[in-house]
Amino acid sequence: MQFEFLLEQVVNGLVLGGYYLLIALGLSLIFSVGGVVNLAHGAFYAVGAYVSLEITKFLGFGPAVVLSPIAVALLGILFERFLLRRFYSADPILSLLVTFGLAMIAEQLIRMIWGAAPLSVNMPAIFKGSVLIGNFLFSRYRLFLLVVVIAVLAGIWLLLNKASFGRVVRAGIQQPDMVAALGIRLQPYMTAIVMLGVGLAALGGALFAPITIVHPAMGAEVITVAFVVVVIGGLGSFWGVVISALLVGVVRGITINFVPAAGEASMYVLMFLILLFRPRGLLGERIEKFEI
């Protein structure tokens, strides 16, 4: 019986990990291509949730989940064009400061537009409740979330590994000078990656809005977890982030099963242990431009 309970937590942790993945993957992509740690990533997650809340009022939940990430991705163009682009080759501390400042401005703007009181998005009635598979309890909504995450993940993997877009991006990560010498402008690819990254964060916000509350500081809440996931997985690694997100979800679930009060601390302990033995993270690549 005890084993079954534990297994249930592991499976639930994997589902939760999928949600962490949506946010962490975008963070990791933007870092690998531009070398910028985007501390404003949580802000795009929050804006995604608020925009989906507004769209839900008029068009319903389905269109909101599709349109909100697209709207935020368009916002990402401005973000990349007018802000990030200036910092690709600058001292990393500058981009850290700029994106951190942007995160604070965004939080305050949200507070001014939508107010400090938390808002709520209701999920469609068909997703309410849970299903029993064997003796495992699953929330219907989270099963839906899992399907979306798997589809998104597959799409991004194909884009990065099977499309010419991905070949340029991957080459750009390792050998930007060589790509330039071949006459390919990396700039539009950078823009596309930032759009994809912040769009994923917004998708996370839109999908998570129905099971949590939408409030101005929600971005700050999620950025830490996303950061931990990326660091554990290894900066710049696609599969590293995937494995790490699932691992963080599972470790949290197991910890809560035995020592509930330590649930939130578990991911930091995990990060500490992994960095102790593997400073570049699980599957972190060696990226030349970040080595001294």
Partner: protein
């Protein structure tokens, strides 16, 4: 190049030091006839939304008082800031008293920050009206004679809901599973709940501590399902309760859920259809009392939404202070304390007036259990809660729900 003689430099420095020691009265305290009040409340973090409502209520009272000519003919000036966390709250409180010329302190929702401000008040021997923090310890073992408490303490919230549960046959022989916020307030709530279960035949089969930054409860929900309780009970705080309620509805667990703390802003955020069960409150905007209705109407006119309980409590708190200063003709700490300790009555927009008990400085007032209206009966997005009858009942003493002197560790 201008040459300064050593003597002149020494003289100038001495003069500057002398002036600094005396102070710059005109600059430091601003216009001398204003009564300045230091106010702290959380505007960020898991209680931030409540703090935002607190400020709205406070500002409204400030405007009304000043429009009517102020207090003792002097305008009030409330300096209100984000308390952030206990350490910052203490630093800011000290600064407000020492440098900003605050006559006394008000505010707070977070019990841990309130303890820190109480210590600052005691150290400086200055008055502090602790408005919105509910931990028993503040008016129990951590109490001090400089602090008075407005909001209902945790054990009263437990009694208010507990009595409703006893009435509805949801107590004796029932197995409870509780989730408790892992800080001073949650711990107090859990221990009051345990006492109530023990006295009334309820059985506590599980109690889990939950860190205050938890937003995702699915692993806890699975644990609850494993233990198969009769009733799930929340001892959480702030927007955590909302997250729990929404995710509880998402998983659709079959056990009824109740709780000993839920602020109406957090209930509203859960939305109709997610919330169920019985919960306590100190005030609700549908309360059928004429003075309360006037307040609600004015608030809605000003801000376009109904006041939350923290808006109400800050509003009445500043009105209470204005009344006390007018009566005592002073902002002197000892005079304020002496007046409050006469157990003078205050209109708090409820059916019965309230008074502060002289030996633990706690406001004695009515509280209410609330449940959720059947679907479709809410007039608007804020109206889906059904307020129960006030406790204590009209013929009972206001003190029947509060701990008696021999069960309270408070000594001044």
């Amino acid at each position: 190049m201008i040459k300064y003689s050593r003597r002149n430099v020494v003289k100038a420095s001495a003069a500057f030091a002398g002036v600094s020691a005396i102070g710059f009265p005109a600059i430091v305290s601003g216009e001398p006839d204003k009564i300045r009040i230091g106010h702290l409340t959380p505007l960020t973090g898991f209680l931030g939304a409540l703090g935002a409502y607190a400020q709205l209520g406070l500002r409204m009272a400030e405007e009304e008082i000043n429009r009517a000519g102020g207090v003792m003919g002097r305008p009030l000036e409330v300096m209100s800031e984000d308390s952030v966390n206990p350490a910052t709250a203490a630093t800011k409180a000290q600064r407000m008293l020492e440098r900003d010329g605050a006559a006394f302190l008000m505010g707070e929702i977070n019990s841990a920050s309130a303890v820190a401000i109480m210590q600052v008040a005691a150290r400086n021997k200055r008055f502090y009206l602790q408005i919105g923090a509910r931990s028993d310890a503040l008016r129990g073992k951590n109490c001090n004679r400089y602090t008075f408490h407005v909001d209902i303490p945790s054990h009263v919230m437990v009694y208010a809901v507990g009595k409703a549960l006893v009435r509805d046959d949801m107590m004796r022989g029932k197995r409870f599973y509780t989730l408790t916020a892992d800080y001073i307030f949650g711990h107090d709530l859990a221990s009051a709940a345990k006492t109530f279960f023990d006295q009334n035949g309820g059985q506590l089969i599980g109690d889990e501590l939950v860190a205050t930054d938890v937003t995702e409860f699915s692993p806890f929900l699975l644990k609850i399902r494993q233990s198969q309780p009769d009733i799930v009970c929340s001892n959480l705080a702030g927007n955590q309760v909302t997250n729990l309620i929404k995710q509880y509805a998402e998983f659709g667990l079959p056990y009824p859920i109740v709780g000993f703390n839920l602020n109406t802003a957090d209930a509203w955020a859960a939305g109709e259809g997610n919330l169920s069960g019985t919960w306590p409150t100190v005030w609700y905007h549908t309360l059928d009392v004429p003075a309360s209705k006037v307040f609600v109407e004015n608030f809605m006119k000003k801000y376009g939404k109904p006041p939350e309980n923290h808006a109400w409590i800050e509003y009445v708190s500043l009105k209470i202070m204005a009344q006390v200063i007018n009566e005592t003709k002073s902002t002197d700490t000892e005079k304020l304390i002496a007046y409050f300790e006469t157990e003078a009555q205050f209109d708090i927009l409820k059916a019965r007036a309230g008074y502060f008990r002289s030996w633990d400085h706690q406001l004695m007032q009515e509280a209410y259990p609330f449940t959720v209206k059947p679907k479709g009966q809410a007039k608007d997005q804020w109206d889906f809660l059904a307020l129960g009858k006030a406790v204590p009942e009209p013929n009972e003493s206001l003190e029947v729900l509060s701990v008696t002197k021999d069960h309270n560790e408070c000594v001044f």
